[in-house]
Symmetry: C2
Subunit: 338 residues, 2 copies
C-alpha cells in the first residue's frame, strides 16, 4: 500500500486525488494547498468524496509528510520548473517520491541541465524517485513515438501532430494561447511572453532525441495564430471571424541541418467548426515506416490526471533519482479497487 499526498487542489489536483481514491494499491493520506482557508480542512469535505473523510489539508509538504507518514507526493501546482523547484526540494527533503504534472519536469535536462542534475543528486541522496509526466509532454508526442521506433530498423524522420479542442478550458488557457486576440495583439503577446503556446516541446524533442541517441544541432519553435474563418465558441470566449482561435505551435529538431523530428500542436477552440477533426497522428519515415492515428485525440485533462496516478506504483518501485517516462516501465492502468 503506497501512502500518497496530493499537493495542489485545483481542477487537476482534485481530479488526481479522486482517481487516487479509486486505486487498490494507493491510500490517499492527505493533501497540501496554498490557500490559507483550506489549511486544516477535511479533504473528504473539500473533494465532496466520503472516501477521503478524516484526511487533512496541510499548509506545506514537510508538515503533511510528517503527520501522514506518506511515501509519495503527487503535485499539480504549475507548469514551469522554476515554480516547481521549492516544492520538489521540500518533497525530496521529506523523503517522498514525487510524481508531478509540471510540463517542464517531464524532461528538465532539456532546458535546465544544471537544475536537473541537482535534483537527481538530491533525489539519490534521499533515495527517492522524481518523475514529471502528463499526456503531453509525457506520452503522446514523446513516449508513444519512442515506443514505436522500437520496432524500426532505421528511422529517417519523425512527424507527429496533436490536434485538440480547448473549448472547455478557462480564462488562463485562453490567455496563454492568445485565443480571442486580434492577430496584432497575438504577435505582441508572443513578444511580451504572455502568449506562450504549448509548454513541453523542448522536453518532448529532447526526450525523443536522447532515447534514440541522436544529437540535435538545435530545436526551432514557431508559434503562429490560427485565425478563425467562422465564428467559434468556447466555454469562456467567443471568437469572431478574423480573430485568433488558437495557437499553432511547432517544434523542429535538426540533426546535421536536417529536420529529423517535427512536432505540431495546434491548440484552438472548436476546430470542428471549420472542419478540423481532433486527433493524434504519428508518422515515422524509416524501415519500416509507421502511420498511427488516434481519433479523437487521447483526452488531455483526464489523461494527464489518470497517467500521473497510474505512474505512482511504477515510481514507488523505481530506482532513486530524477527519471523520465522513457526510463520507467510502460505506463498501465493501476489496479482499481474491486
Amino acid at each position: 500500500m503506497i501512502r500518497v499526498i496530493q499537493c495542489g487542489l485545483g481542477a487537476m489536483g482534485s481530479l488526481m486525488a479522486r482517481i487516487a481514491l479509486e486505486k487498490r494499491d494507493l491510500r490517499l493520506v492527505g493533501a497540501v494547498a496554498r490557500r490559507a482557508e483550506l489549511h486544516g480542512a477535511d479533504l473528504g469535505a473539500y473533494l465532496k468524496d466520503p472516501r477521503a473523510r478524516g484526511r487533512k489539508i496541510y499548509p506545506d509538504i514537510a508538515t503533511a509528510a510528517r503527520r501522514t507518514r506518506a511515501d509519495l507526493v503527487m503535485t499539480a501546482t504549475g507548469s514551469l520548473l522554476a515554480e516547481e523547484l521549492p516544492i520538489l526540494e521540500a518533497a525530496i527533503d521529506a523523503g517522498l517520491d514525487v510524481v508531478s504534472i509540471a510540463e517542464e519536469l517531464a524532461y528538465p535536462a532539456a532546458r535546465s541541465p544544471a537544475a536537473a542534475a541537482r535534483l537527481d543528486r538530491l533525489a539519490r541522496r534521499k533515495r527517492v524517485t522524481v518523475l514529471g509526466t502528463g499526456i503531453n509532454p509525457g506520452f503522446v508526442l514523446d513516449l508513444l513515438i519512442i515506443a514505436l521506433t522500437g520496432v524500426c530498423r532505421r528511422v529517417e524522420s519523425i512527424y507527429a501532430e496533436r490536434v485538440n479542442d480547448l473549448s472547455p478550458y478557462g480564462g488562463m488557457v485562453m490567455q496563454t494561447q492568445g485565443i480571442g486576440l486580434t492577430p496584432a495583439a497575438f504577435a505582441q503577446g508572443l513578444k511580451a511572453g504572455t502568449v506562450l503556446g504549448h509548454i513541453g516541446f523542448q522536453q518532448s524533442v529532447a526526450m525523443i532525441a536522447d532515447a534514440l541517441g541522436v544529437e540535435l544541432d538545435e530545436v526551432r519553435e514557431e508559434r503562429a495564430p490560427i485565425i478563425a474563418a467562422k465564428e467559434r465558441r468556447g466555454e469562456h470566449v467567443t471568437v469572431a471571424p478574423g480573430m485568433v482561435a488558437g495557437c499553432r505551435h511547432t517544434a523542429k529538431g535538426l540533426h546535421k541541418g536536417r529536420v529529423v523530428i517535427e512536432l505540431v500542436h495546434p491548440q484552438q477552440i472548436q476546430p470542428e467548426a471549420e472542419g478540423t477533426r481532433t486527433r493524434d497522428r504519428i508518422v515515422i519515415k524509416g524501415q519500416p515506416g509507421i502511420d498511427l492515428r488516434v481519433e479523437p485525440e487521447l483526452a488531455g485533462g483526464i489523461g494527464t490526471a489518470a497517467l500521473a496516478v497510474n505512474m505512482v506504483p511504477l515510481v514507488a518501485a523505481a530506482a532513486p533519482g530524477l527519471v523520465s517516462m522513457k526510463d520507467l516501465p510502460v505506463p498501465r492502468l493501476a489496479a482499481l479497487r474491486s
Copy 2:
C-alpha cells in the same frame, strides 16, 4: 559495448544479426547454428556482410560464449517454450543475457508457470536477464495496449485486431495457418494440431491482465477458416475460391463472466484481393475511450527482428531474472553507427 551472439541463422536470425551490425553500442561477436556444415564457417561470408568478417559460427552456445566472451545471446530458433528451454538454460548457464523471439517466451507464465519460475530462479542465480519479445506477441497486441491504458482512469473492455498479409511467407507458415486447404481439411488440421493459427494469444492476454491487475476466469481461443471468395495468390501458394486463404484466430479473456479483453488476428494471404486493408487497431472502452489505428499494420518480420535487437541495451541494463516487455522501459531504436 555489448558483445552479442546470434543463435539461429534462418531468415529471422540472419536479419537480427545484420541489424545488430548496424548498432553503435553492440558488437556482434559470433553466431550459433544447428546445421553442421556451418560450424567453423565465417559469419561475414555466411551473412554476405563484410562487417561480420572474422567472427565464427559455433555449434553450441557454451562454446560460443567461451570463445567470444559474449555478454548476451539473441535467439531465433523456434516458437515454443519447450523447444527453447535447452537453449535458454545453456545461455543462462554460460552467464549470458538472453533476448529471444520465441513467441511463448513473451510471457511464459501464461501457460507454463512452473517452467517460468524455474527460468527466473536460474537467471537470478546467474545474474542474467531473459526476455522474450517480438512484434506480436511482445508489442502490438499487448505492450501497446498496456501503454494506452496508462492514460485511462477506468477501462471497461479492450478490443484489438491485427490484420496482416502472409503472402510473402513460406511453406511452413502456409501449413500452420491451413492456407490452401479445403475447409474440411482445415477442420481436421485444427483437431490434429497441424493447423495452429497464431502463437502468442495466451501470452498477450495474460500480460495485459497481469499488468492491469485483472484476474481472468479463462481465456477462450477460436480458430476459424477464412474462405477465399476470389482467387488469392501468395509467393508459395495460390488459393482458389472456396478454399482456405487464412486463419481467423481470436482470443477472449473473461473476468466474472464478461469479455474484458478481445484480441482478433486474421492471418491470410492477399487480404486486399477481397477489399480488406491490413491494419492494427486498438479500441479501449473506458474513461477516456481510445481508438487507435496503424495503417498498414506494423510490419511483422522486420519489426520483430528490429525490436529484438533494439531491446538488447535495455536487457543488458535490466535487473536479473525472467522479464517481459511490461517490466522494462519502453522499447526504442537503439542508436545506429554514425
